[in-house]
């Protein structure tokens, strides 16, 4: 049997992080495994790299829908796709 202390309090941070991480992987609109979620004080911080600006917006939308009362800080980047300027020699 699960013993609930502090009914009404926010769930422990680790479960929130695990839930968001699984949400981002398993939601078909996102399917991102490359996002790190950190819960700090009263805000969620999202880090990571995605392949398009659209995906960054989808992630923000999904997380803010699930946790409407939590302020979210996003530091998600879009990965560059320029041609390389250097080659690597492997003799």
């Amino acid at each position: 049997m699960t013993h609930h202390r502090d009914i009404g309090a926010a769930p422990p941070d680790e479960y929130v992080e695990a839930e968001i991480q699984r949400l981002l992987v398993e939601d078909p609109a996102v399917a991102e495994q490359g996002i790190t979620v950190i819960r700090r004080e009263r805000a969620l911080v999202l880090y990571g790299e995605v392949e398009s600006p659209h995906r960054r917006e989808e992630i923000l939308r999904l997380v803010s829908e699930r946790f409407p009362d939590v302020p979210i800080t996003s530091d998600i980047g879009v990965i560059r796709t320029q041609a390389p300027t250097e080659i690597e020699q492997l003799p």
């Binding site: 560059r80 041609a83 020699q89």
Partner: protein
């Protein structure tokens, strides 16, 4: 003899990404003999996403050779995905190989997706529940097929292409706890069973670029979030032009994998 190999993995294409890689890909004929794709071409492995891959990576002036990744299996449409890619002229490897005639010689590429399991001393064993045995046997079968394919190719230079990593070196930056989901030592053993010149993989989005198998084969993680450019180019051969030796940037620092 130098063969010029371009490679990238984990491009995770869908409609929203189409066109982003193309300008850099158009430059390929000037700098590479072949483009290797190290799996996770799509987000969910749908036929529609495969068409995006065909549009972005098809019709290039260099041959394109790929393996699939775990994401390309998500929707159980592997046969359809493979057909769309092959119709676009992309060679899809899984337990087999291909030999390409390049200016610098015959390049043999053997590929498998690979699977997890972990690395020597910290790996899963073929023991216990059927689920565990199935997991480990998937890895072993995959590695066996890679080794056989590598040893079967008649060529001047041999390259191994996988999605999962054959070594822990190129996972540095990932949480240690998930290494068993990122690769397996059996893939490295297969690579070392043949005179392989280079092993290329993806999957570890937060890993690092460079590693070596216990047998001394160079390993490169070319996951797009790691290399942070459209593709990397390796000049593999017996000549070293010191003017062209240059360091490639450090990998990213985000902790993630896929």
């Amino acid at each position: 003899m130098v063969i010029r190999i371009a490679a990238v993995g984990d491009v995770h294409l869908d409609e929203d990404v189409v066109g982003r890689f193309r300008p850099a890909l158009e430059e390929l004929p000037e700098c590479a003999d072949v483009l290797l794709l190290a799996g996770d071409l799509t987000r969910h492995g749908t036929e529609a996403e495969a068409r995006c891959v065909a549009e972005e990576f098809g019709g290039l002036a260099v041959p394109v050779v790929t393996v699939l990744g775990n994401h390309d299996h998500q929707c159980d449409q592997v046969p359809q995905v493979v057909k769309v890619l092959e119709d676009a002229g992309i060679t899809v490897l899984e337990g087999n190989g291909v030999v390409l005639d390049c200016a610098g010689g015959r390049l043999g590429i053997a590929g498998v997706k690979g699977f997890g399991g972990g690395f020597a001393g910290r790996c899963a064993s073929d023991f216990g529940e059927p689920e565990m045995k199935a997991f480990v046997r998937t890895t072993t079968d995959s590695a066996d097929r890679l080794g056989a394919a590598l040893r079967s190719l008649d060529c001047d230079m041999l390259v191994a292409l996988t999605h999962y990593s054959p070594v822990p070196d190129t996972l540095a930056g990932e949480p240690l706890e998930i290494y068993p989901f990122l690769g397996s030592y059996q893939l490295g053993q297969a690579i070392d069973s043949a005179p392989t010149a280079l092993a290329v993989h993806g999957h570890a989005h937060a890993g690092t670029e460079r590693g070596t198998t216990p047998g001394g084969v160079r390993v490169r993680n070319v996951a797009h979030p790691v290399i942070k450019q459209a593709y990397s180019v390796f000049h593999v051969g017996d000549q070293l032009d010191t003017d062209q030796v240059s360091p490639i940037g450090q990998s990213g620092s985000q902790r993630s994998w896929s």
